[in-house]
Symmetry: C2
Subunit: 159 residues, 2 copies
């Protein structure tokens, strides 16, 4: 799996196909992609950065789509539950899912310089964490795997 987000790509397409995939999912799963939710997803998709709930709220309210925190949090809750977005715990911020459609355990590469975030996948039940959980008798339900550091571009800039 390549870590999109640090590489050049047709971004408009990336937004379009993300929205299309979400729409298809909603039809299939009888979820309602309301205007606020749709626009919230579109805003997240238009970045490869994680946005705070209040950043999102600011953009939504510019367009008359609500102005109070719950509006943003509800939209984000929906997107996260539906698997259309992820929360980046280390940033308390939210990111459009880059692999919309498949069920996956996400992992993130977070650039501390430019704040861009790339999503990749992890298999937490394997590897050392899984082994530790096994040994302890711990049942893993969800994992948070996030690396902070420097993306290729910022690495080059720093050198």
């Amino acid at each position: 799996m390549t870590a999109l987000g640090f590489t050049q790509h047709d971004h408009a397409k990336c937004v379009r196909s993300g929205l299309a995939a979400a729409e298809a999912q909603c039809r299939a799963r009888k979820l309602r992609l309301t205007p606020v939710r749709r626009r919230a997803l579109e805003i997240l998709l238009s970045e490869h950065r994680a946005l705070g709930a209040y950043d999102l709220l600011a953009r939504l309210s510019e367009e008359g789509l609500g102005s109070q925190p719950p509006v943003a949090y509800r939209a984000l809750d929906f997107l996260v539950k539906a698997g259309f977005a992820h929360k980046v715990e280390a940033l308390n911020a939210y990111l459009a899912c880059a692999h919309l459609g498949d069920d996956h355990a996400p992992a993130f590469l977070i650039c501390r310089a430019c704040r861009s975030v790339a999503e990749t996948a992890t298999t937490p039940r394997q590897g050392r964490l899984g082994a530790a959980a096994e040994e302890a008798g711990f049942l893993i339900e969800r994992t948070v795997v996030e690396a902070q550091g420097l993306c290729p571009a910022c690495r080059k800039a720093a050198a």
Copy 2:
């Protein structure tokens, strides 16, 4: 490495030895384990749960050790920087380090039922995350690895 926190152990000793190790480190590294910092560490050591900054503050202020948020955050910053405590990002909460003394990349097993947290270790640069970072040209500086689920006791209780 066993995941202390879900298992029986001599807890008083665990507090004493943690404090002793921190004191030794401070002497060696010329850090100042002031009363607030020392007591904050002791409070964290006396739990195998992550405490929020305001939980800690409440306990400190009961004892006259400051009453405003900066007091707790400064103590926590010191403890985290010194490696005596870790922040659990998924909870926005703090935990005494269980392997005080050795340099390590921590990982956490977090029980959603009883909120106990066990610390274990990870080797993030190996495994899938490391491979993804390598491929992307991303330089990992720090990792957050946290599993949420059920500890052995709560698993049994649920069944």
